[in-house]
């Protein structure tokens, strides 16, 4: 889908003056993740609209040690602009800055780096706010209060850490609710299922679980189902087609949707603007929508990530 087959990469380095033939590169936080795939869809749609080419790359894990070599290679192929979801604010600072210094326009998407001043634009998701919103969904389903759990990925992953942090902070403000802590699933659904079943044995009065990413949500849903505890409210993060189906099936009660496609579209706009020497917006904050069965066919439905592009 993304490789446009044409001679996009060789359009003569940076600073191509015409409108038509910019080559963009998009580096995902991790390959094969629906959030980034949706973002890629947005990017490709917008790129086609603006008549620029784009190539997408992503490492196997959300790991700066794997992303840095990838970025270096992408930079070596000298695209006109780089759209990147940095896997670490410090670790990726130098390699991305080096790209900018070599004349490539940089747009930071989803995440940012410590000092993004070199970037044409930084379009950030509000993960912390998403975590808070997830708690509100649980609060709504269980106004009586109770114990809640977070199933995250691994400690040290900035995006999911921010989601968990936002969630925990919101829990702390409501004294009817008590957090029993964060468990880590190592991005394995079966691991998440094992943890959740054990946690449900420990805290039989658990009322809600916030699963901080797709696999955590899938494993959590499976675990809850295995334990036969459909009274537990599961809130997932992201709203790819798979999650939406979980929501429709009633396995998951709410989803916190970011706006990956819109991030992608704006990123392309910013990049092309920068390449054309037009004004860019330094910082763009995107929002999120909480999708439930009630609004899935209405406004919530619009927030669902694109799956095919």
């Amino acid at each position: 889908s993304s490789g446009d087959g044409g001679s996009g990469g060789d359009s003569g380095g940076s600073g191509g003056s015409g409108d038509g033939d910019y080559s963009l590169a998009f580096v995902q936080g991790v390959a094969g993740d629906e959030f980034y795939i949706s973002m890629q869809c947005g990017i490709e749609a917008k790129a086609e609209e603006l008549g620029v080419s784009v190539k997408t790359q992503g490492a196997k894990q959300f790991d700066p040690a794997l992303q840095k070599p990838l970025v270096d290679s992408v930079v070596a192929s000298s695209p006109d602009a780089l759209l990147i979801a940095a896997t670490d604010q410090s670790a990726m600072q130098a390699p991305i800055e080096a790209a900018a210094n070599s004349g490539i326009e940089v747009v930071l998407v989803d995440t940012t780096v410590e000092d993004p001043s070199f970037a044409a634009s930084a379009i950030a998701s509000d993960n912390y706010g998403g975590g808070e919103a997830a708690f509100e969904a649980i609060e709504e389903a269980h106004p009586e209060g109770g114990k809640v759990l977070v199933v995250s990925i691994d400690p040290g992953i900035t995006t999911s850490d921010a989601r968990a942090e936002g969630f925990e902070a919101a829990v702390a403000e409501n004294d009817k609710f008590e957090s029993v802590g964060i468990e880590y699933s190592h991005n394995q659904p079966d691991e998440a299922a094992r943890i959740v079943t054990a946690a449900l044995q420990r805290d039989k009065d658990l009322v809600g679980i916030f699963a901080a990413n797709l696999f955590a949500a899938e494993g959590t849903a499976t675990g809850v189902q295995q334990a036969g505890r459909d009274d537990v409210t599961v809130v997932g993060f992201d709203a790819g087609p798979a999650q939406v189906e979980q929501l429709r099936d009633g396995i998951v009660q709410a989803l916190v949707a970011q706006e990956p496609a819109s991030i992608g579209e704006q990123a392309v706009e910013q990049a092309v603007a920068a390449l054309n020497g037009e004004d860019t917006t330094a910082e763009i904050q995107t929002g999120f929508t909480v999708i439930t069965q009630d609004n899935i066919d209405g406004e919530g439905g619009e927030a669902v990530y694109q799956s095919s592009c």
């Binding site: 889908s1 991790v30 390959a31 094969g32 993740d33 629906e34 795939i37 894990q61 400690p155 029993v180 802590g181 964060i182 468990e183 880590y184 190592h186 991005n187 394995q188 659904p189 079966d190 691991e191 299922a193 094992r194 943890i195 079943t197 054990a198 946690a199 044995q201 420990r202 797709l214 696999f215 899938e218 494993g219 499976t222 189902q225 295995q226 334990a227 790819g240 087609p241 798979a242 189906e245 979980q246 099936d249 396995i251 799956s307 095919s308």
Partner: protein, 362 residues
Amino acid sequence: MSIDARTPKMGPETTAIAEVDAKETLFARLARTQWLQILIVLIAIVAVFSVMAPDTFPHWGNVRLIIQNASILAVLAVGITFVIITSGIDLSIGSVLVFSGVAAAIAMRTIGGDGWGTAIVGIVVSIAAGLFWGFFNGFVIAKLKVPPLIVTLGTMGIALGLAQILTGGVDIREVPEVLTNSIGYGNVFGTIPIISVIALVVIVIGAIVLHRTRFGLHTYAVGSNEESARRVGVKVDRRLIAVYALTGGLAGLAGIMSLAQFSTTAIAGQTETNLNVITAVVIGGTSLFGGIGTIIGSIVGLFIPAVLQNGFVILGVQPFWQQVAVGAVLIVAVYVDQVRRAQASRGGDVSVWKHLFARRRG
């Protein structure tokens, strides 16, 4: 010249042989049940948790979930036990599982329908896809002599990449309900998960094949000394291909089981599977150098980390400390197992502590 007054009591050697072999049946059995040692370690761990969390840990509801969650890994562990006994390794099972699940999901989506017809097509496609990858691994390893680590690492990337290409990286979630309701969450006798029954059948058949049939014997022979096996006419290449194909096929079966359980192809979600399964097999006493191992040992080996994790979560041990504790208990468990095995083979009574401070020899 001095001739010792006490000449041995036995007559000609053949008598001595007969005598020794009569005694042996029991001993042989004991030797063959060396996995008993690691089972004792598991029981000890279970006992400790049962004492520490008497209200939750030892109850059937919890035990049932531990078993259910170990079922898919158990199917994989059966295959990997065969592979490691041949002194091979298979890193591709996680990816093959995903690929098979994807292939099955696509096939079922294409056919459409929610009934058993569709489900059976899915099952067949999944197992066939697994068999294909296993056969590919086996062929390259046996015929082209590329080391198993490299081959299966390559297959790991290829199968996963193809699964992502087939789906565009987006998980497929359309799984016939009959699958989720039966294999995924069905029970027999109201409380025993069907998924665990399937695993049990695989384990029993696997154990019979490994320990009772010619195929199993040849598996040990290949791992014991490939060159010798070849010299005496064991069709080593064919056996190797069959072992890897078997393992692939079981990964395919695990793929459809996973699809039924999680209702999704979970494409990126099996990266730890191969390490988890290999660990289980090694805990269970199978040597990475081949020639030694039992299915039942591997299954016991699977439950040690599973029980540890479950127990630590129930006890409310912090996640960071859980990793530390699981790692530490793992080392201690295998250490205790080693010492007990050494004792058993010796008939001695050296305690663990004595062993720890004694110097090593013979």
